[in-house]
């Protein structure tokens, strides 16, 4: 909107815009899910960090500039507008860091945050398990208390970035007697620890964006437990809220894609598709305005809460529709692999990961609209 940014906010925006204009690589970096690309993206993180743009909202002492939420969204808008590289550090800075800030000890914060800010340590998330999917509470990987720490066993899957990352984080069942979401503990661990096996998963686009992780008696010291043992579910839920919320998908990304779509249309306008093209632009714009509204509310204090699910459903389905429209516009060119077809295949994972959109709709229905839960285990025909 740029309606009434404060002078400080405007100055912040101008500074970010100028730095990005001068520093964003002219050529796309190779994919971060290849060995070369991973290194190139790590180097880019280092460059961001040197100019203190890698984690703008963090405090100065751990590599940030203490930016406000409004400034953070401004930075994200500028970042995508500039066509800057994807963030190989995103699992760490967007998913894990908020938890370290909230639940980590001073020692953990000092040890983990600065190398995360510089991109020296790249983190992989280890959320899902083969049999659990969206049902996090049915995780089966175990943690057994041993002298001075824990032994992890089991398997995780859909661990993003894990093929090349250094550290992992995730939930393990530390109390086999406790029911479902009780008895889970939150662990951080090196991916090269003895007993960890990383098996990359080839994806639609042929790259290893995800991996399976196998744990065979992996030792983790007590110092690497986040929060209290057995309290992992509550600790993790703050990540889940964050992951689905503002952080991961700032509107700049979709507005930039919608602008590119308008560009494709301008090159070869097909009036029959104009409505779909405009629809994509309108949806990206609505997302931007909605998100700015949320940011304004949060700036006054408040919690994203379940409205994060609204964001997730919206951006992920908008992203698929936008790319489908692009392929329709491209016509026979869409038969051939291109950045648009890659983007299309990538967009398909949006409605699936970070809590499927089915789960998000359950959350919206139950937590915002207050609709009754599905009956479970109740007497015949009675809602449970």
């Amino acid at each position: 909107m740029n309606l009434d940014f404060t002078p400080d906010e405007l100055a912040f925006r101008d500074e970010a815009r100028a730095w990005l204009a001068a520093n964003v690589p002219a050529e796309c970096l190779p994919s971060m899910d290849t060995a070369d690309g991973f290194v190139a993206h790590q180097e880019w993180e280092r460059r961001l960090a040197d100019a203190r743009w890698s984690v703008v909202s963090w405090p100065d002492e751990v590599g940030g500039r203490g930016a406000s939420l409004v400034e953070w969204v401004i930075f994200e808008e500028e970042y995508y507008r500039a066509g800057a590289p994807g963030r190989v550090s995103q699992n760490g800075i967007f998913l894990l860091a908020p938890i370290i800030f909230d639940h980590g000890t001073a020692e953990q914060q000092e040890r983990w945050l600065p190398p995360m800010a510089t991109g020296e340590t790249i983190w992989a998330q280890a959320w899902s398990e083969p049999e659990a999917g969206s049902d996090l509470a049915s995780l089966r990987s175990t943690a057994t208390a041993v002298d001075g720490g824990w032994r992890l066993n089991g398997q995780k899957t859909w661990s993003s970035r894990a093929a090349y990352a250094h550290q992992g984080f995730g939930l393990f069942r530390s109390d086999p007697e406790a029911e479902r979401h009780r008895g889970l503990t939150y662990f951080c661990f090196p991916l090269d620890a003895p007993g960890v096996t990383v098996r990359p998963i080839a994806q639609l686009d042929g790259e290893a964006g995800f991996a399976e992780l196998f744990f065979d008696d992996v030792f983790v010291p007590d110092a690497d437990v986040l929060g209290e043992p057995g309290d992992g579910w509550r600790v993790a839920m703050s990540t889940a809220g964050n992951e689905r919320g503002l952080s991961l998908r700032s509107p700049g990304r979709f507005c930039a894609a919608a602008d590119r779509l308008l560009g494709v249309y301008a090159e070869a306008p097909d009036p029959a598709l104009s409505s779909a093209v405009v629809e994509a632009w309108v949806r990206a714009e609505a997302y931007r305005l909605y998100t700015w509204g949320t940011v304004t509310r949060l700036a006054d204090g408040g919690d994203v809460g379940a409205t994060g699910s609204i964001n997730k459903v919206w951006w992920s389905e908008l992203d698929v529709a936008l790319h489908e429209t692009a392929l329709d516009l491209l016509g026979d060119e869409a038969e051939v692999a291109s950045t648009w077809t890659d983007g299309y295949l990538f967009s398909l994972s949006g409605p699936i990961y970070a809590g499927t959109n089915e789960i998000q709709r359950n959350i919206i229905a139950e937590r915002i609209l207050g609709l009754p839960k599905e009956p479970r285990g109740a007497a015949r025909g009675e809602p449970g």
Binding site: V70, V282, P375
Partner: protein
């Protein structure tokens, strides 16, 4: 960035209007209002004007208005939309926007601010901005016909755009003048009343001879005002449907616990939230004179229209049989959404304004 979220004052204004409408515009009152010869509850309209100053909000203080902006009018309209209240506020807002834009129309504006029913007899009100007027002006009089016109049969102040040799002008007509025929038409939506007008040499006062810009601004204001009604209507449909599905039992459980229905209502909520965010931002952009205000308005209008229609369709479907009875309000949501969908241009026409 505070303008992307309603202020405390906006919230208080909304509460005041809602409290009034809860008392004076419940389901039974709406049905009574529909049956009145004016098509709305004149007492309620007086109260809205006297207590809330509804018609005066966006009119400058020097012309008897409250000197606020379209944002405050938006707040009132969203509440009127939610209550499905039959009301002349929409044509009043559109007409005063035309007069403010044309400038120097103090006396007319003062009457509107005080609650006089005003309307603009222009097919752009029920279509896209580039719709031509079907009326011509020559020798100081108007000739032609235009239909449907919001509150056209009861308006006390009547503006008519008309072609003349030098372009398109804006004129004022005495609603009781000889040569003017006003006929109420049966609308699809009983809560919005229309009339057809024929003008057979009706004497007209010139407001502005070169009114193209005035009409463009007026269309923008009308578009934004309509989004307010659409957001309110959608919210009403959703609330009604969620409440009903929580209570209604089938197969031994509330139907609102069936996942297919929950997901559909979740989608409606997403649509309503996005609508409100987009509409409010577009109104603020207009109020602040932002350069992209007209694009944001068209975007919001296309989205709010479709979202309200989607809610209305599900309101009918999820209520089942009772939705298609006259006694139930579900069909009023549907008819209102459908009628609003046409005002100031259909969604696809709004989208057409957004591409080269």
């Amino acid at each position: 960035m505070t303008d992307l979220v309603p202020t405390r004052e906006h919230t208080e204004l909304a509460s005041a209007v809602r409290n009034l409408l809860d008392r004076r515009s419940d389901s039974r009152s709406v049905r009574r209002a529909i049956e009145q010869p004016t098509g709305f509850d004149t007492d309620l309209w007086s109260t809205l004007c006297d207590q809330i100053g509804a018609a005066a909000l966006a009119i400058p203080e020097e012309h008897g208005g409250a000197g606020f902006t379209l944002a405050e009018t938006y707040v009132v309209l969203e509440e009127l939309g939610r209550a499905l209240t039959p009301s002349p506020l929409l044509p009043s807002v559109v007409t005063s926007a035309a007069l403010v834009s044309a400038g120097g129309q103090g006396p007319l504006l003062e009457r509107i601010a005080g609650g006089a029913i005003a309307t603009l007899a222009w097919s752009g009100v029920t279509g896209p901005a580039d719709t031509a007027a079907e009326v011509t002006w020559s020798d100081g009089a108007l000739h032609g016909s235009v239909s449907p016109v919001l509150c056209g049969d009861v308006a006390e102040i009547l503006l008519v755009p008309a072609h003349h040799d030098g372009g398109i002008g804006l004129f004022s007509v005495d609603p009781t003048a000889a040569g003017l025929t006003r006929t109420r038409v049966a609308g699809l939506d009983p809560t919005i009343s229309f009339a057809g007008l024929t003008l057979d040499g009706v004497p007209a006062e010139v407001i502005e001879l070169d009114a193209a810009n005035v009409l463009a601004t007026t269309h923008l204001v009308g578009t934004l005002s309509t989004t307010a009604l659409q957001v309110g209507c959608a919210q009403r449909g959703l609330d009604m449907t969620v409440d009903y599905t929580k209570q209604r039992e089938q197969f031994g459980r509330p139907i609102g616990s069936f996942q297919a229905l929950k997901h559909r209502m979740a989608d409606l909520l997403v649509g309503v939230q996005m609508s409100r965010a987009g509409a409010w931002a577009a109104v603020q952009a207009h109020v602040h004179g932002a350069p992209n205000a007209d694009r944001l308005a068209a975007a919001a209008a296309s989205y709010c229209g479709e979202s309200a229609m989607a809610v209305a369709a599900e309101t009918i479907q999820l209520h089942g049989g009772i939705a298609i009875t006259w006694e139930h309000d579900a069909h009023l949501v549907l008819k209102r959404a459908q009628a609003l969908n046409q005002l100031f241009g259909l969604p696809h026409q709004q989208r057409a304004a957004l591409i080269f």
